[in-house]
């Protein structure tokens, strides 16, 4: 389908495709097998100026928006979601500063993130606070001109590899959802350390670690926005980055479809290619229908966000949920089309199937997304009757 991309958008997509084809596809199986962080790809993405895509030009970025970022995440995910999540997680860590940071913070942190010199990460999840973010135990206590952080963040993407962390901590437990605040914390700060690297089912080239704060003192200037704005910072950040997870789903589904289609035209059984069997054709057609529908939805959402729409929690939840459910289904179908070969690590689809599962879980499980969608539907409807 022709999405009528502008010349710049075509260029961005082409550049991301080149990186995927030349720098990611040849190494993805090895990165997965060795659970190795993709520094070489990160270097290529920084040289290509792609880390600064969504960062305003005055802070060293390219000044593009959510849609262009979606195009890059999609292309990278076609090749490997371990790579694309490492790229996207840096945006997740940077957006709190882009959206709510004060001028000094923007000047201090954004240029290094835009150039790819430093990766960023976002720390919200804890052992007892996943879907229910109000369960956060990490505290930040004001002490003169400092805050002192204590607690542990869990399963933080880019943990240990990133230099700059946006972290949500409780500043006043009595204030409920207005008692959390967002902070920027640099790697190397005393009292800030990392847990072991987690062993995962998929996206194994990405790094997932605990962030451990033990009497970690940071200057009060590291507060993002105002005290009590932590959940707003987190929710607005997730709203704007959620189409990126949808884009991971679209890219992964496309990658799986491409492999399955090529295979079906080469594999012969009963004296003919398996693509000549209607049983296979219908699976391929369904994979294409779902992938294209997911793409159209993710693109429309990203374009709406860039267009200036203010309320988009429901739409970004719809895009994320649909596209990641599609990725799961399409990658399972791809394994089925490749049969025994699909189950082997020699072919890329079993990895895609393992990678797809996390898309339905992280950045808000698809069940939580459905809560958001349903509550918004009911809210919209209650005004009418």
């Amino acid at each position: 389908m022709n999405y009528m991309l502008t010349d710049d958008q075509k260029m961005i997509k082409e550049l991301a495709k080149k990186i995927s084809d030349e720098k990611v596809i040849p190494v993805r199986a090895e990165l997965d097998e060795k659970e190795e962080f993709p520094w070489e790809v990160i270097k290529a993405l920084s040289q290509a100026d792609l880390f600064g895509l969504y960062i305003p030009e005055e802070y060293g970025g390219m000044g593009f928006g959510c849609f262009e970022t979606v195009l890059v995440v999609e292309e990278l995910s076609r090749a490997c979601c371990g790579v694309s999540v490492s790229y996207a997680a840096s945006a997740l860590g940077a957006y709190p500063i882009v959206l709510f940071g004060h001028e000094e913070q923007k000047k201090k942190y954004l240029p290094a993130i835009a150039s790819g010199e430093k990766l960023a990460a976002f720390g919200l999840t804890e052992a007892n606070a996943g879907s229910d973010a109000s369960g956060i135990q990490t505290t930040a206590k004001r002490d003169g001109n400092h805050y002192v952080l204590n607690g542990t963040k869990q399963w933080i993407t880019n943990g240990g590899e990133a230099e700059i962390y946006a972290v949500i901590a409780i500043t006043d437990r009595n204030k409920g959802s207005r008692g959390a605040s967002a902070f920027v914390i640099e790697k190397g700060t005393e009292g800030f350390s990392f847990g072991k690297k987690e062993k995962k089912m998929g996206i194994r080239s990405s790094a997932t670690r605990e962030l451990v704060f033990d009497n970690c003192r940071i200057p009060k200037e590291n507060l993002i926005g105002r005290e009590g704005m932590g959940f707003i910072v987190a929710l607005k950040t997730l709203d704007i980055t959620r189409p990126g997870i949808g884009a991971q789903g679209v890219g992964l589904a496309q990658g799986a479809l491409d492999v399955a289609l090529n295979y079906s035209r080469q594999r012969t059984q009963f004296g003919q290619t398996i693509s000549s069997f209607q049983a296979i054709q219908h699976i391929l057609a369904d994979m294409a229908i779902q992938t294209e529908a997911a793409r159209a939805l993710v693109y429309a959402t990203a374009r709406m966000i860039d267009g200036g729409e203010k309320t988009f929690s429901k739409d970004s939840a719809i895009a994320k949920t649909f596209a990641t459910d599609v990725a799961m289904k399409v990658s399972v179908d791809a394994v089925q089309i490749l049969g025994g070969y699909g189950y082997m690590r020699e072919y890329p689809v079993e990895k895609m199937m393992r990678d797809a599962k996390i898309l339905q879980i992280y950045e808000g499980t698809n069940q939580i997304q459905r809560n958001v969608i349903a509550l918004q539907l009911i809210k919209e409807n209650s005004g009418k009757n």
Partner: protein, 262 residues
Amino acid sequence: MNIIVCIKQVPATTEIKIDPATNTLVREGTESIVNPFDVYALEEAIRIKEEFGGKVTAITMGPPHAAEALKEAIAVGADDVILLSDRAFAGADTLATSHTLSKGIEKLGDFDLIICGKQTMDGDTAQVGPEIAEKLGVPIVTYVSQIKKIEDGHIQLQRMVEDGYEVVETEKPLVITVVKEINEPRVPSLRGMMRAKKAEIPVWTAKDINAEEEKIGLLGSPTQVVTIFVPEVSRKGERFEGEADKIVEQLIGKLKEDKVLN
């Protein structure tokens, strides 16, 4: 460091089709790319600039659409580009090509280093680099796989030879030709691609570079192509079938018979 990189636009395939009627290359429908070895040359130039500062100029001789190759050079970081394009340049062999390129380079002025790919994937002669050095009267080091040191006008290079490598030290200015082992080329940058899109490519004609008519194009080319043909494949395969043990024996027997094995 003032570095000049010579590049060439070539068809993006090694399976060249030849029109049987005219015996010329069929270029229609074939995408054009920058000659792969020249991409390594360009990358090395950009790396030297990043380390020592200076300027990278990419130069090519070709028809107007060769400007696309120069845009790719801008996208990866070339500061300046020059397209040598003139009907009078057409039909050039390596001698006329190197004459034309060296006249263009003379017009560009002083340089420290000229980098070329070891050869093109269409012509495959590997002659243009050395010929440019000859015409400009500077040293040439071919098949360079590593630049080991650049210091006070001296340059130490490692070059690939048949059974190993040589380390050569010489002085600037000079010409080098590079092999693919020298680096891993980067992808272009978005800023570079945007700059390339807007860039106007300067075109120099034969007159602009004061090229003498009898030394360029067909007139300046002593090489005469008598005929171009697709060679017949004379090799015949032989297929052994059956149990692995037996066909391995058969194969070894055959290889001994043909004196491949003793």
